[in-house]
Every structure is written in structure tokens, then in C-alpha cells.
């Protein structure tokens, strides 16, 4: 292979002075598959083939809990992609807020590539407009909360007509009753209204009225719904948490409110994390709750972080599962 200086009047051979610029090159007798692995890696990878192709009760059941986080929560899509690459079993899913949107889509059988499309089209789907249309002055004058038209339209178009019972993977999502402060976990009945409730920002969007309750975003009381995944039947839960890392000062009153809700969610996350078998925290940088134009970026951050930590996650599940897995061989 010759590298050439395309704009100069000369051709330079890079052969002579070229340092090692490729990966390690081996002779055909020691190609990079065997002999490079440690015994630990070999043991892990072969045990994993068994775990990933087994179903409960031959192994413990695995839940996936997806946190809230608005646009940042799109990081869960990348996490899902990494889990699929690894063949990570997902027997149950729970989600809060954006986690409920991503989780319900996945539980309905939507391929991860379709969920990526949703992220790429988020700006076209005008989801940001629900936030941009918020005029605080009119909120104060009319004293009426906003209905998130575009978010509702998206949820109805994807999940309308579905029930929890019809989903391919058992799913639950969290919301909060505005009047009592109770955590409400949905796991049966119509899906769309439950997801709408779970993603419904308090104080801005009008509560979702359902079953004599006034429901708002579950992130306020259950940022990482690990308990919901356990209630579905998960023995072990992997949690994906899209926490705030932004140190930006909010530009206006609305963003201040969103940031307060977000910080409250992150504080809740700290205590919930202890319940997880394994945590993945995508580094979403300064992407804010309402940055729906940056969903794809958040998703990529999720994929990078989940890939980086996948071997550790597999090992954690294998260590937990070993007694049952080996006993059932």
C-alpha cells in the first residue's frame, strides 16, 4: 500500500520510514483468534454462549431498566444495540419517561434500527416544538397547562392500539399521581396512555387523566424503575441511566424548571443504583432534557459506553448466574 501526497508534484513512498501503522500483523499460523485470549476471557466467552442461548429457568431472568432523561434518554437506544450485539438476554423491560418510550418501542418488537430512525427524525417529528411552543407568559395569563401535541401524536402513531399484554417482551412503566404523589407502575391495559403519562412533564404539560388519576412524568418519583422490572419477575436487573452532566446555567424559567426536575431525578437515581445488578451510565455530556435535535448523538454515546463496559456486564451476570447455569447443564 502506497500513501501519496495528492496535492504535491511528487509521490512519496511511505514504505521506508513508515512506523507501525496497522494492527498487529501475525503470520498465518498465529492469527488473531487463538492464543491472544486469557483463560478468563476464554471461560467467560464460552460460558456466555450457554447463558445467551438459554431461557429461564435454566438461567436467572434478566430485566432492563431504562431511566428518564428527556432527549438524553435516547442514549438507551445505543445501549440496546450493544446488548443485541452481545446477545445479552432481556426478559423484562421497565422504563420511566423517555425510558418508557424507548422501552415500549423495543418491547413491542420494533428493531433497534427503527428506534434509531425515531432519534434521527426527532427534529422532523417536531417533538421539540412541544417545548418550544411553551410561552410562560401565556401559561401565567391563561393559567392553563399545555397539551404536548407532537409527543402525543408520535406515541399514538407507534403504540396506539397496543396493550401491555400484546407486547413481545413484558414491560412496565412508571408515572406519578399528581394529587397523591404516589408512584404508579403500569404493566397491563392500554399502552399508549401509560407511556404518555410516564413522559408527561409536570408543571408544563397537563396531567394525563386515567383511571381517576392525574398522571405526570414518573421521573420525579422513580427515575430508574428497577423495582418495576423486579415486579415483572426479573431476578437480576441491568440499568441504563442517562444522568445529567450539564453544568450549563439554564437560559430561562422553563429550562430552570426542567433542570430542577432533572437534578431531582439524578438524586433519586443515586439510591436506586444500589438495587441494580449492573449499571451503564452513558456519557451524554451537555445534552439537555429538551435537546431533541441531539438524540442521535445521545444514542451514539450510549452505544460507546455500553460497548466499553459490555465485558464487565457479561461477567457480572455470569457470576450471579453461575450456580443455576452450571446446575442446569
Amino acid at each position: 500500500m502506497l500513501l501519496v501526497l495528492v496535492s504535491g508534484p511528487y509521490v512519496v513512498s511511505a514504505q521506508e520510514a513508515r512506523p507501525v501503522e496497522r494492527g498487529p500483523r501475525q503470520s498465518a499460523s498465529s492469527l488473531p483468534l487463538s492464543g491472544e485470549e486469557t483463560d478468563d476471557e476464554l471461560l467467560r466467552d464460552v460460558l456466555w454462549t450457554r447463558l445467551s442461548t438459554s431461557r429461564p429457568p435454566a438461567r436467572p431472568s434478566v430485566g432492563l431498566a431504562l431511566s428518564g432523561g428527556g432527549a438524553r434518554g435516547f442514549a438507551h437506544t445505543g445501549v440496546l444495540e450493544a446488548l443485541e450485539y452481545a446477545g445479552f438476554p432481556v426478559d423484562y423491560i421497565s422504563g420511566t419517561s423517555m425510558g418508557s418510550v424507548i422501552g415500549s418501542l423495543y418491547a413491542s418488537g420494533a428493531p433497534v434500527s427503527d428506534i434509531w430512525k425515531f432519534g434521527r427524525q426527532a427534529s422532523e417529528l417536531k417533538i421539540s416544538r412541544d417545548f418550544k411552543s411553551i410561552r410562560l407568559l401565556s401559561l401565567l395569563i391563561t393559567d392553563k397547562l399545555i397539551t404536548p401535541t407532537y409527543i402525543n401524536r408520535f406515541i399514538e402513531s407507534r403504540l396506539g392500539g397496543l396493550t401491555f399484554e400484546k407486547l413481545k417482551i413484558p414491560f412496565a412503566c412508571s408515572a406519578m399521581d399528581m394529587r397523591t404523589g404516589e408512584k404508579i407502575i403500569f404493566s397491563e391495559g392500554p399502552l399508549a396512555v401509560a407511556v404518555r403519562a410516564s413522559v408527561n412533564l409536570p408543571g408544563i404539560f397537563a396531567p394525563v387523566e386515567y383511571g381517576h388519576r392525574y398522571l405526570v412524568d414518573g421521573g420525579v418519583v422513580d427515575f430508574i424503575p428497577i423495582g418495576a422490572a423486579r415486579r415483572l419477575g426479573a431476578d437480576w436487573v441491568l440499568a441504563s441511566v442517562a444522568e445529567s452532566e450539564s453544568s450549563r446555567m439554564p437560559e430561562n424559567v422553563l429550562m430552570s424548571l426542567l433542570q430542577v426536575i432533572d437534578i431531582r431525578g439524578s438524586l433519586l437515581a443515586r439510591s436506586a443504583e444500589r438495587e441494580a445488578g449492573f449499571l451503564i451510565k452513558p456519557q451524554v455530556g451537555d445534552i439537555s432534557v429538551a435537546d431533541f435535535d441531539r438524540c442521535e448523538e445521545a444514542g451514539e454515546a450510549g452505544l460507546v459506553e455500553a460497548s466499553r463496559r459490555m465485558d464487565e456486564a457479561r461477567e457480572a451476570l455470569l457470576i450471579y448466574s453461575a450456580p443455576r447455569l452450571v446446575q442446569k447443564l
Binding site: M1, L5, Y10, D40, Y85, E315, I319, Y320, V326
Partner: protein, 327 residues
């Protein structure tokens, strides 16, 4: 000095200097050209120390842009060869800003970033190179590796695929690397297809049988994986392959045969924690936990994961093993 006198002074000064000095840089450019010739000769002869020695004097002559562009190419690669990646990066970054159309600098920067563990910095640079040179094999391969390092395995597949096609499926190490990536992606069909190409490029190598065996084991089909790994062992009777076979026997529900295979390794003499844990798991799966215990204790001498698996089977508290995995 009056305006007239000043004009006269400059005219006299101009007359004293040859015209080419204004238009072509004069003696200084000639000197720079000669140094550049020496740098080129030294570079082609593989004498990087000479190239680096000459580069200082060359730049002192303030040579024209085209000359500097060529010199940056030699200097950067010689810094790389000498192991001064940071200096090479400095040269390439500067050169990229000055000569954005020259993909050599983007290419070299991308390779350095890729090898230094910064695939996220390498990706846009490789994409830049490939936007100009779509058939650049090393850039396709470099981009595939960068994507693979980041976990973007579908994108990695696209560029590995291009690289091996451009190589006409003849480079066995690249084929093995690609197959490994496809096993990681659980793209069994592609892994087996590439193994077939690899077997044609480098026949008689155990790797291709191993890829096929792992593709089947990955789908839980240990019975069909066994003859393939046994073929691999015939080509390369390495300890790890023998123990991988023992693990397939165990995972495939043949604990007695797995224990026999582990015993064969343990009989060889030296302590072998992997063979011990296989034997321990085989006994455990048959409900012979007391007999399994000494083998599982022996596995503590293995790596940290092996020790934790053994501890888990010996009944250590789960929390103790889980906590360190959390972040």
C-alpha cells in the same frame, strides 16, 4: 528625507537585488530546495535521523509552501518512526491546516490516533481520507478498526468488508481480524463466510475451523461445534484449544467427557486453574459438590473472573461479587 529622495533610495536598492529574489525567493529558496533534495534522499534511504537533522535548517530558509508541504510529510513520518508520536501529531495538525487537500496528513493523524486508543478522533479523519481515496485499503481498515473499537460493529462491518474485497480476500490476518469482529457482532453467517475465504487464503491454519466452531457454539449448537474444534486441534494442538473443547463438552451437556478432558490437562503436571474450574463445574453439574470443591478452590489461582465464578459456585455471598462491577 523628502519623498523624492525616499523613492530614489528604494529604486537604487531594488536595482542592487536580482529580480528573481522578489519573485522566487532567490538564494534562500535554492538552498531550501537543496536541503529538501537531501531530505528526500535520506527519507527514501530510510535514514530518519538525517531527515530530522535537516528539517531545522530547511525551515530556517523560510521555503515556499509547496516545499514545506513535502518536507512536513517526511518529518512527520520520521517522528513516527522514531517513536515521537506527539511531535508527529504536531506536524500533521499544522500541515492539515495549511494543506487541507492533502490527505496524507489526515491519514497519518488517523492512524496515530487509532493506535493510541483514540478511535473517536480517528473516525472523522479516516472518513476525510476515504472521501478522497475510497479505495485506500489501509484507511478502510483503519476506519473499520476505529468503529470496532467504539462498538459501532455494523459500521465496522461495512469497512472491513470493503478492505477485504479490495485485498481480494488474500490477506489472512485481516480476514481473521474481520471474522473475530463478526463473532463479536454475532453475525454468524458473515463470520463463517469470511472463515471460508480465510481457509482459501491460508489453508492448513486452525483459525478458520475455530471461527466456524465458535459461530456454532455461539448459537448453542455445541454438538456440531465439537468436530470443528477437534479439526482445529489436529492442526494446532494448543492447550487453550483443548480446554475450549472441554468447555464445549460441558456446555453441551456432556460433563463426564468434559471432566475427562480436564483430567488430561491436569495430569500433565503443572497447576492449571482453567482445567481445574472445568473439572469443578463438571462435578458440580452432576450434583457432586463436595468433590467439586477442591477443584473450584484451585481455580482461585486463575484470573479474577475465574476466581469469582468459582467463589459463586462455592456459595460466596452474591453481593460481594457484584458490587465491584458497578460504577
Amino acid at each position: 528625507m523628502t519623498a523624492k529622495a525616499r523613492l530614489l533610495f528604494f529604486l537604487l536598492l531594488a536595482a542592487a537585488v536580482p529580480a528573481r529574489a522578489f519573485f522566487f525567493g532567490g538564494e534562500s529558496d535554492k538552498k531550501a530546495g537543496a536541503i529538501l533534495d537531501s531530505m528526500r534522499t535520506a527519507f527514501e534511504a530510510g535514514s530518519c535521523s538525517s531527515v530530522l537533522e535537516l528539517s531545522g535548517g530547511f525551515l530556517d530558509e523560510k521555503p515556499p509552501a509547496a516545499m514545506r508541504e513535502e518536507a512536513y510529510g517526511y518529518t512527520g513520518r520520521c517522528y513516527e518512526a522514531a517513536g515521537f508520536a506527539d511531535k508527529a501529531i504536531g506536524v500533521y495538525k499544522l500541515a492539515r491546516e495549511l494543506y487541507p487537500d492533502n490527505v496524507l496528513f489526515a491519514s497519518r493523524l488517523a492512524f496515530i490516533y487509532g493506535q493510541s486508543g483514540f478511535p473517536e478522533l480517528a473516525v472523522p479523519l479516516f472518513l476525510n481520507v476515504l472521501s478522497v481515496e475510497t479505495d485506500d485499503i489501509d484507511a478502510n481498515l483503519g476506519l473499520a478498526r476505529a468503529y470496532s473499537g467504539l462498538g459501532f460493529l455494523s459500521k465496522a462491518k461495512e469497512f472491513y468488508s470493503r478492505a477485504v474485497i479490495l485485498q481480494d480476500f488474500r490477506d489472512a490476518p485481516t480476514l481473521a481480524e474481520y471474522a473475530r469482529c463478526m463473532l463479536r457482532k454475532r453475525d454468524w453467517a458473515e463470520a463463517v463466510f469470511i472463515a471460508g475465504k480465510g481457509a482459501a487464503a491460508a489453508p492448513g491454519t486452525s483459525v478458520w475451523k475455530l471461527v466456524e466452531a465458535r459461530a456454532l457454539a455461539g448459537q448453542g449448537d455445541y454438538k456440531r461445534a465439537l468436530p470443528l474444534i477437534e479439526s482445529a486441534i489436529r492442526l494446532d494442538p494448543a492447550r487453550q484449544l483443548r480446554l475450549e473443547r472441554a468447555l464445549y463438552l460441558l456446555m453441551g451437556g456432556m460433563p463426564r467427557r468434559a471432566a475427562e478432558a480436564a483430567d488430561a490437562e491436569l495430569a500433565a503436571g503443572a497447576a492449571d486453574p482453567l482445567a481445574s474450574v472445568i473439572k469443578g463445574m463438571a462435578l458440580y453439574s452432576q450434583g457432586r459438590r463436595t468433590e467439586a470443591a477442591p477443584y473450584l478452590y484451585a481455580a482461585h489461582a486463575g484470573g479474577p473472573f475465574m476466581a469469582k465464578i468459582a467463589a459463586s459456585l462455592l456459595g460466596a455471598p452474591q453481593e460481594a461479587t457484584e458490587e465491584p462491577w458497578k460504577k
